[in-house]
């Protein structure tokens, strides 16, 4: 029974993808979207039932479908494991996916590739389910690459758009952004593969249970290498510095994709990997601290770029990056369950935020510049409410989900005695509140800054708004389940509780964070709630430009990696391959040809000449014979 549920949860999205693919090249069919959504909902129900089962019985379900690769001593099965961690992920993924599928029926309404979109989207969910459900590292890698390809397909969904300059569109074009995402992820995947190799040659298996039970026998250096290699893999998927540029460019994809893949699910795969492999990371404190430090840095770094950005979706993308930093900070400090909790809560409110942004885009005819919006509150009540709720949750205002999860992470940093990290995370919380509400105010408050005579913003379809409501609800109430969640997942994950000392100071700590969060919102309110006042001096300052250009990192990559690589490739071809390697071969051939051509002159046709040559030859042979006879 439970086994069947596992397969239903896993393969319903696959069936949905195949079904939509059948109609991939035919014109828009609404029923494709409906059936895909129904199948996704089936998968969600199955996941929820499994979650209930795991919650009530405390058992995990382990099924092995069949053998995949078997060579030498290596055996990799298609095995699936449903335990506290994976079932959490499954439920979150299928819930957000179902919402996004229904949302897409409305959002992609006018797109002629409607059917194709659902095929890709469901294929993504299937890959993500493999990723989280697999019982071994190789299976995880299947999902890992699978979500990468689906992300490539979906970022480049509007592949017909032409490349433009970076000034016009920082992502150049959807197909460019898609390729960038794929290639950057591949860099990290190499790290991940190396991690797999290290584990295999030291343990002899890639099954989680075998690997984790063999860890105590491994040397410290092996563990460190494995942990670091796996984390490099996680850095790519979760877009950690310096592999972060692809995530903002990925906003070229349709907004439901941004909500599902680039906010709620795929980008959290890196965090999931660290949580899943927590036995390895628990044994490597240095690597774990590095993860925490990098996470904290990214949290701040990304938030700083969000402060000045004018692109609705990019602001949310930076915010995602920043929140992923928080999750890594928690995971790196050993609070795996808090990281997982923030992952889930973040999935809800960030997906909601993106879908809200999608509504705005829909209303504004794909305008993304928040400087050209304003006053949308009147026309879009529901969207305003949703985005407001999501932003409150993101800013960490009490009773909303983000307050509980983010606050726990910040407390963890304090509890571990890493006060520098703590301070940065608190500061970042303030920045988060500021940029979230800067966006909300600029979009919805004040006067309209668009041409009201041509553009008449309208609210999204009703069914779309209703479909978004579960996310809104969860963004509000998810925090109250924190205690239950802790007892649930810590059956598997190491528990993390604050020390006595922290416990005493908890009110103070919470108050400090709250002061920053509320301060950020207040600042945003003062500056932007009554419309936009451009500050030329500020916008031309060095810091502002630095932040607006993402610290010039994309330009740096372009100048120092992309272009030199292309130039070097060209040189390798024209100078080395053609002028050296091939020219040598042709040179040898020419030498032989020329020697033949040169000796052709001997062929005079005159018998007398031939006889002379013959005599020369005979004499030469005699001399050779004589010399060899003398030499013995």
């Amino acid at each position: 029974m439970m086994e069947n549920l596992v397969y239903i949860a896993l393969f319903a999205p696959f069936a949905s993808s195949l079904f939509a693919a059948l109609f991939g090249m035919s014109p828009r069919q609404t029923f494709v979207g409906i059936i895909a959504s129904l199948l996704l909902f089936t998968s969600f129900v199955a996941s929820a039932l499994l979650a209930y089962y795991v919650y009530t019985t405390g058992n995990s379900i382990h099924v092995t479908m069949m053998e995949w690769i078997s060579a030498g001593d290596l055996t990799i099965p298609f095995g699936f494991l449903v335990d506290q961690v994976s079932v959490t992920m499954m439920t979150v993924v299928t819930l957000v996916s179902t919402v996004v599928h229904i949302y897409s029926i409305g959002y992609m309404d006018h797109d002629k590739s409607f059917n194709r979109f659902f095929s890709y989207l469901s294929a993504f969910v299937f890959s993500m389910m493999i990723l989280v459900m697999s019982d071994n590292f190789a299976g995880l890698f299947i999902g890992w690459e699978g979500v990468g390809v689906c992300s490539w397909l979906l970022i480049g969904f509007w592949y017909h758009k032409a490349d433009v300059t970076r000034d016009e569109n920082p992502s150049i074009s959807p197909s460019w952004a898609a390729n960038e995402a794929f290639i950057v992820n591949r860099i990290a995947d190499l790290g991940m593969l190396v991690g797999l190799f290290i584990i295999y040659w030291n343990v002899g298996s890639l099954q989680y249970d075998v690997v984790f039970s063999a860890l105590p026998n491994l040397s410290g250096s092996v563990l460190n290498a494995a942990a670091l290699a796996l984390f490099i893999g996680a850095m790519g998927k979760s877009a950690q510095f310096p592999l972060h540029t692809w995530l903002t460019d990925a906003m070229e994809g349709p907004t439901p994709v941004s909500a599902l893949i680039h906010a709620a699910t795929m980008v959290t795969a890196g965090v999931f990997l660290v949580i899943r492999a927590n036995p390895i990371f628990s044994m490597t404190p240095e690597v774990s601290f590095f993860i925490a430090a990098l996470g904290t840095f990214v949290a701040f770094f990304a938030a700083s770029m969000a402060l000045v950005n004018r692109d609705l979706k990019r602001i949310i993308a930076f915010s995602t990056l920043s929140q992923l930093g928080y999750m890594f900070a928690a995971a790196g400090l050993g609070a795996y369950w808090i990281a997982l909790f923030h992952l889930a809560a973040h999935a809800f409110f960030k997906a909601l935020l993106f879908l809200g942004a999608g509504n705005v885009m829909h209303a504004m005819h794909d305008e993304l510049d928040i400087f050209k919006m304003g006053g949308l509150k009147k026309a879009m009540n529901w969207t305003y409410a949703y985005m407001g709720v999501a932003s409150l949750a993101l800013a960490g205002i009490p009773v909303f989900a983000g307050f509980f999860s983010k606050d726990a992470i910040i407390e963890t940093a304090f509890n571990e005695g890493t006060y520098v990290l703590w301070a940065i995370l608190v500061l970042t919380a303030g920045m988060t509140a500021f940029y979230s509400f800067r966006q909300v105010f600029l979009t919805f408050h004040g006067k309209a800054r668009y041409d009201e005579s041509t553009l008449h913003p309208h609210e999204m379809y009703k069914f779309v708004l209703i479909a978004m409501s579960p996310l809104a609800l969860l963004a509000v109430i998810a925090g109250f389940f924190m205690g239950g969640f802790q007892t649930f997942v810590t059956k598997l994950l190491p528990d993390y509780v604050m020390s006595e000392h922290t416990h005493h100071l908890i009110w103070v700590l919470t108050a400090v964070v709250l002061v920053f969060a509320v301060g950020g919102i207040w600042l945003a309110y003062k500056k932007y709630a009554n419309g936009l006042k451009r500050d030329e001096e500020l916008e031309n300052s060095f810091i502002y430009k630095l932040l607006a250009n993402q610290y010039y990192i994309p330009q740096f990559y372009e100048e120092f990696i992309t272009k030199p690589y292309a130039m070097l490739s060209e040189k390798m071809w024209t100078s080395v391959d053609m002028k050296i390697v091939d020219a040598t071969v042709d040179g040898i051939a020419k030498l032989i040809y020329k020697s033949g051509d040169g000796s052709r002159k001997m062929q005079t046709g005159n018998l007398s000449n031939y006889l002379n040559w013959m005599a020369v030859g005979a004499v030469l042979l005699l001399v050779v014979a004589a010399i060899s006879a003398m030499l013995g």
């Binding site: 991939g24 090249m25 069949m66 053998e67 995949w68 690769i69 078997s70 060579a71 030498g72 001593d73 290596l74 190789a138 890698f141 299947i142 690459e145 699978g146 390809v149 480049g156 592949y159 017909h160 758009k161 032409a162 490349d163 074009s173 197909s175 460019w176 390729n179 794929f182 290639i183 591949r186 860099i187 995947d189 190499l190 593969l193 190396v194 797999l196 190799f197 290290i198 295999y200 040659w201 690589y565 292309a566 070097l568 490739s569 060209e570 390798m572 071809w573 024209t574 080395v576 391959d577 390697v581 091939d582 040598t584 071969v585 051939a589």
Partner: protein, 508 residues
């Protein structure tokens, strides 16, 4: 049927001879029928093949020149079985998709002869028979490139012929010397490979012989820096020529390493791991970069072939079952994927008579089916899990990691730079707006093209999800070979380096 191998080898040739009397209009149907029967026979061979038996099966032996130990000696094991099936498959698919109309009868007959030589190489267990088929395979290919090729066809075909021929002559010297050594040590003449296996040679002899065989194989593979004939051959060859060349002929080189070099010269092979690994890594990285610089789609795929062959070479010299099995599997995977990619390039070439990427752009909007199949093959080429390309590449890198982590990481960059040039091709040809007027009216795949490509897509996915039926026989034979090499090795380094799988310890 005991003589199935002989039937497999000579059926296409006899059918090819009969092809001379076939009517010109029906030549194509005739060829496809013969190739289909041949594929059926090869599948039957697989069906009657005993997967658990790691040794040679269906062995036939007829003495030809008993005084010199030359005999018609053929057989098949897990390593060669699937390459034979792939050769039969790719010949059939290639014929089905062929768009050539000029001298079609000659082409069909040539292909059938080529099929004989290809299968002959992979079943031969006698060095002279092996050499015979090896050299004979050059002739039909020379003809295909020279007669149906592009503007530089004569240059390309002569370069192809002379280059590979020069290498195989050195190999022939090696074979003769090997037979001479065998005679000196045992007192009898023999060219049977299985007899040669039994010979334990001193290390210096092994090194010289390894070098002699190396030239023959390395030029065929082709290994850096002997690769420059390949882009010309591919660039000028007609589609069918490129398909067969990439899918099967290149595999002769890597197959030679597995069949000859490793079991005959285990100590020399172990000593040569580092140099060969270095060359392989240069092949992987350097040709991938050169591929990125190309303007012509076909040249990109030609150079990418060299890069992928580098992975195969690396796996062969991993000296463990994971690496070598992965490498043999990768031979099949590369055969099918690169064959399909060349066919796909042929599709667009037939329509536009150009292969320059700058002429295309936005093809995905005009030819969606074509774009989908190209996309699947591209993903298989960059080694996406659950496609055939991943299994081999993963096993090779996994296997070689045991030899050298650093070199594996360098070779592993192939998953990055492979994606770079492949995605660049896809972006330039398929994405973006349709700018060229000539592309706006292109027709999507027709029935003939679809039916020849879809089977390959199915195989790519089937063997990506469930490689076991293929991987298991390969793995059994490879494990047995490693046990044998380990017993035979005389130096301590070789004994240490050759890793016998735990599952095959305790006897063959």
């Amino acid at each position: 049927m005991d003589n199935i191998l002989s039937v497999l080898v000579f059926f296409p040739a006899i059918a090819g001879l009969l092809g001379f009397v076939v009517d010109k209009e029906s030549a194509r149907t005739y060829g496809i029928t013969v190739a289909a029967i041949e594929l059926f026979l090869s599948l039957w061979l697989w069906f009657s093949f005993d997967s658990a038996n790691a040794g040679m099966q269906f062995v036939e032996m007829i003495p030809l020149i008993p005084d010199f130990g030359v005999s018609y000696y053929i057989g098949v094991d897990g390593i060669s079985l699937f390459i034979i099936i792939m050769a039969a498959l790719m010949t059939l698919i290639g014929m089905m998709s062929m768009s050539i109309t000029k001298n079609i009868k000659n082409m069909i007959i040539t292909l059938l002869f080529l099929e004989m030589t290809m299968i002959g190489v992979f079943v031969a267990l006698d060095a002279i028979i092996f050499y015979l088929f090896w050299e004979l395979s050059l002739v039909p290919m020379l003809y295909i490139i020279g007669a149906w090729g592009g503007p530089l066809r004569v240059y390309a075909s002569i370069k192809f012929f002379l280059y590979t021929f020069a290498g195989s002559l050195i190999m022939l010297v090696g074979m003769l010397f090997m037979a001479y050594v065998y005679h000196n040590l045992t007192g009898v003449w023999s060219f049977a490979i299985t007899d040669w296996y039994a010979l334990v040679l001193p290390v210096d002899y092994q090194l010289w012989l390894f070098a002699a065989f190396f030239f023959g194989f390395a030029i065929k593979v082709p290994m850096f820096p002997f690769h420059t004939w390949l882009p010309y051959a591919h660039g000028q060859a007609p589609t069918i020529g490129s398909v067969i060349l990439a899918a099967v002929l290149l595999k002769m080189g890597t197959y030679g390493f597995v069949r000859f070099s490793l079991p005959m010269f285990p100590d020399a092979s172990v000593m040569m791991i580092t140099p060969i690994a270095v060359i392989s890594i240069i092949m992987i990285i350097y040709t991938a970069m050169v591929a990125y610089a190309q303007k012509d789609i076909k040249q990109v795929i030609a150079y990418s072939s060299v890069s992928h062959m580098g992975i195969i070479m690396l796996g062969i010299f991993a000296m463990n079952a994971e690496g070598i099995s992965g490498s043999v599997f990768q031979m099949l995977s590369h055969g099918i994927v690169s064959g399909a990619l060349f066919m796909l390039v042929g599709v667009i070439y037939d329509r536009r008579h150009t292969k320059l990427m700058s002429e295309f752009g936005g093809l995905a909007s005009v030819m969606p089916k074509y774009a989908v199949i190209f996309g699947i093959m591209l993903m298989a080429a960059v080694g996406l899990p659950l496609t055939i390309g991943f299994v081999g590449e993963f096993l090779v890198l996994l296997g070689f990691y045991q030899v050298s982590p650093i070199m594996t990481i360098l070779a592993g960059t192939s998953i990055i730079i492979g994606a770079i040039y492949m995605l660049a091709v896809y972006k330039k040809s398929f994405f973006g707006p349709v700018t060229n007027e000539a592309n706006k009216t292109l027709k999507d795949l027709d029935a003939k093209e679809t039916w020849s490509l879809v089977p390959l897509v199915l195989i790519v996915i089937w063997l990506g999800i469930y490689p076991k039926p293929v991987l298991e026989p390969i793995d059994n034979s490879v494990k047995a070979m490693l046990v044998f090499m380990d017993e035979k090795a005389i130096t301590k380094e070789a004994k240490d380096m050759i890793k016998v799988a735990k599952s095959s310890q305790g006897g063959v």
